[in-house]
């Protein structure tokens, strides 16, 4: 009952915000709608019993990525936001024009048709029963998995994060313009 409610509301939040990311004219609003999508995704993870993944999703995206994107939008305002509107939908230039939109819709339709063809065979044989008991704590098992079976990937991801940290700092450091 409660799970059904959580599932339906998170699914609606996710889908509505995802579509809003696509159609909104303002990049700042796009970022905020992306935040809504990610929160809805965390709710979907919770309905799947993935408590640790859900909280990690909130932690990384809400506390990090979205704020970073908002900062990037603000630091790169410039002349793109002065309305060089290109007719269709009255969008600013950098938010796409009618050619890019029709291209995107075409690709989207092709992808949806392909996926429906693939999914229709999956849905016939889809399991509706979950495996395992209802809500086990995943934290202990995840910890064991991370330092036993997947320790190489864990270490590589730590190196990747260090590389990203140093690389981002080096790329974005202020330099003399020549």
């Amino acid at each position: 009952m409660f799970l059904q409610f959580l599932f339906i509301s998170s699914a609606i939040l996710t889908l509505a915000c995802t579509v809003a990311v696509l159609v909104t004219k303002n990049l700042m609003h796009s970022c905020v709608f992306l935040l809504g999508t990610l929160v809805g995704m965390a709710g979907l993870y919770a309905t799947l019993g993935a408590d640790f993944v859900a909280v990690t999703q909130i932690m990384v995206y809400m506390g990090g990525v979205v704020i970073l994107m908002l900062f990037a939008v603000m630091l790169t305002g410039g002349k793109d936001f002065v309305s060089r509107a290109q007719n269709l939908l009255g969008l600013p230039a950098s938010m796409g024009n009618k050619w890019t939109y029709s291209m995107g819709i075409f690709v989207g339709v092709v992808f949806i048709l392909t996926n429906v063809k693939l999914l229709s065979s999956i849905i016939k044989t889809t399991p509706t029963k979950t495996i395992g008991n209802d809500f086990p704590s995943t934290v202990t098992q995840l910890g064991h998995l991370l330092v036993k079976d997947h320790v190489l990937a864990f270490e590589i991801s730590s190196v990747l994060l260090l590389g990203a940290l140093v690389g981002a700092a080096i790329i974005a450091r202020p330099r003399k313009q020549n």
């Binding site: 009952m1 609003h29 408590d51 990690t56 809400m62 704020i67 908002l70 809500f135 704590s137």
Partner: protein
Amino acid sequence: MNQTVVSYLAQYEFFDFLVAIFKNNQSLLSFLIYLIFALLIVGMCATIGGLGTYAERKISADIQARIGPNRVGPYGLLQFLADGVKMIIKEDIMPATADKMLFYLAPLLCLTGVFATLAVLPFAGGFIMTDLNVGIFYLVAISSLVGVGVFLGGYASNSKWSMLGGMRGASQIISYEIPVTISILAITLLAGGMGFGTIVSNQGGLPHQWFMFHNPFAFLATFVYFVGALAETNRAPFDLPEAESELVSGYHTEYTGMRFGFFALAEYIEVFVVCGVATALFLGGYNIPGLDIDILPLQAIQFTIFMTKTLLLYYVVIWIRWTFPRLRVDQLMSICWKYLTPIAIFNLVGCAIWMVAFNGKSIAELVFGSH
């Protein structure tokens, strides 16, 4: 399975009686119990947030040898109600060039982020909404919504003061999240779990059983956490996002009426929450000194102990505000990145080594033998 307030009450006989009243409709009963507890906790914390403004003014008056608010009610105690009514009936003004949607959204994001943390705050052994097994991680994650709210509030107002305040606030909050989270990580190492129930039950009522005095590194981590938490809640001496002398009032300059009230309420409740987390993590939480049993009537005593420790910390926060001058922006960032973060990482490594070297024993256990 996470322990919740419902599963706590279900151990007792009167719960069967309640189930019988509701004609065995247990889900409705659980929903009602959750609803009542949620309303209780939110109402209590909103009152504490309101009384926080009163305490702030009264304590500052005491420090500066003034009298402070004394007209409304006995000792001016009802001043916060008068303030609240004033805020509700004030006109709601929005700047003409503001970003309307984000302007409405920002205070609500702040308030949501703070109130969502109350779900896992351990007021007493059974008086905790839900003892998630990712409790402290959830709390840190969901409270980062405040940073988004502050940033959007600054952006949407379309004013220079607000913009600067919002950018300062967001960068300050995401920077200081790092030392705070690493300090918390050291404590989860000691406790062996991230749920608040696990963390608190691994401590004892007496000071030598607290995690603060578990080992020297945890002692340092306490102070790192407290300084970082001050910065995360935008309290002095880290209140740069709303520095009056430079930025009028920072990210909420353009907000009036109840929307401003939401920001203020969120700030005061967040101070309460971080003090409660400090109590639960470092100061023994709700444990009763020298008593190890857990029965229903003792909940009141546990609750009193938790609130006493938390409100003492709350007093310290206000005391710090009226004692120390404000930092500069560059000093703020260098304190975070050059001092607090290395110290926090040192504490984490030190705690891990201590746990391996002394088999998880605290200093008191090593010196006096097991208690």
